[in-house]
Symmetry: C2
Subunit: 212 residues, 2 copies
Amino acid sequence: MQAKRGRSYHHGDLKQALRDAALELIRERGAESVSLREISQAAGVSHTAAYRHYADKQALLADLAEEAFRTLDRIHRRTIESTAGGPADQLAACGRDYVRFAIDNPHLLSLMFGNVIIDWHAHPSLVLAGQGLATTLETVVRAGQAAGVFRAGDPRELALAAWSLVHGLSSLIVGRRVPHRGAPRGYVERGTETCIKLLMGGISALPKQRRR
Amino acid sequence: MQAKRGRSYHHGDLKQALRDAALELIRERGAESVSLREISQAAGVSHTAAYRHYADKQALLADLAEEAFRTLDRIHRRTIESTAGGPADQLAACGRDYVRFAIDNPHLLSLMFGNVIIDWHAHPSLVLAGQGLATTLETVVRAGQAAGVFRAGDPRELALAAWSLVHGLSSLIVGRRVPHRGAPRGYVERGTETCIKLLMGGISALPKQRRR
DNA sequence: ACCTGAACACCGTTCAAGT
DNA sequence: ACCTGAACACCGTTCAAGT
């Protein structure tokens, strides 16, 4: 976490200072409402200094999105590690993690999945970080199939279905398409559990009577 | 479709001309990349003329999003009407409609669900159009429960789960988070069917052995 | 090597003025 | 009533210049 070179410039590490400033502003108001100029100002440099470290504004946003993808993936992997009940419980726990991450970081979810970053393919390491998230889910699905608790089929497609469910719910909550405030207490929580139940019911290899 | 007043102004109906021009530009390049000035230019008026008909750019975008919500809802209602096999088939058909709409109109889906429109609550008729979409799905879920083919539970939560699944898939496809081009032929189609199957497996009231 | 300041071509929005 | 054109305060980005 130290500057790689001397102290011949302002911040020791302007790139990290820009990241920090940008992340804070985006967390508050969303990437659409934050300009590169005010990020630079918040980092204490002139409005063109960022171009020494990023090709353009998109590159800075892509860097932050990449970090967010890796953070969420790390949360998933830790949860998988610390959940003892097998793949079904692990997948359900990851789903809850995902929704909680979205609720706690709504503007980050938009950055990761909205089209703030226009040309996704222009940022290969971002693509990789996104694929990492998908791969982790796929691993759990494969484990569940191997254990005979998840139904047969292409694991990538089953993982996609699981991802779609929790991502769709997160996206609807964050976008306020679903009553959030002003809804009966615990509505989001119960909606999440209903989604998880639907996922478990749909992915399970066991007949319905056997479960729970 | 006629101008409500005389021909004392350019287009007969500038508001509609603005809508048309905006919709075409957004379909091509996405709302984030289209300016109000070029929409006005495409409609053949000065860059401030739009303010006679919309409070600001957000209001124009909200108008288009509202139209898109109503279009998708109309598609759903027609599908429900023309699908004979009962609520399960109707819900599955709506899911396929939803994903197809997203693939055919990626930039519209972003407009409807991304955070291009910053203050969702500032546009009450847009909120209503969005709720209409949810209500239609809820109606099918209620019908399925009444017929005993869908499991018991709060129909709003079950409808939310169904919506989440197809919306999440659509959103991942449109955002290119899931291999689209360059993927094995029919990957999206098979992924969609896997999602629908998961939905049906999760929402069904019947034991697994009885289905299909 | 790293940062600044002026400059350029754009934005969204306002407002007085024209018909 | 409807539209225009100048003006304002912003953008992202480029580039010559400073240390």
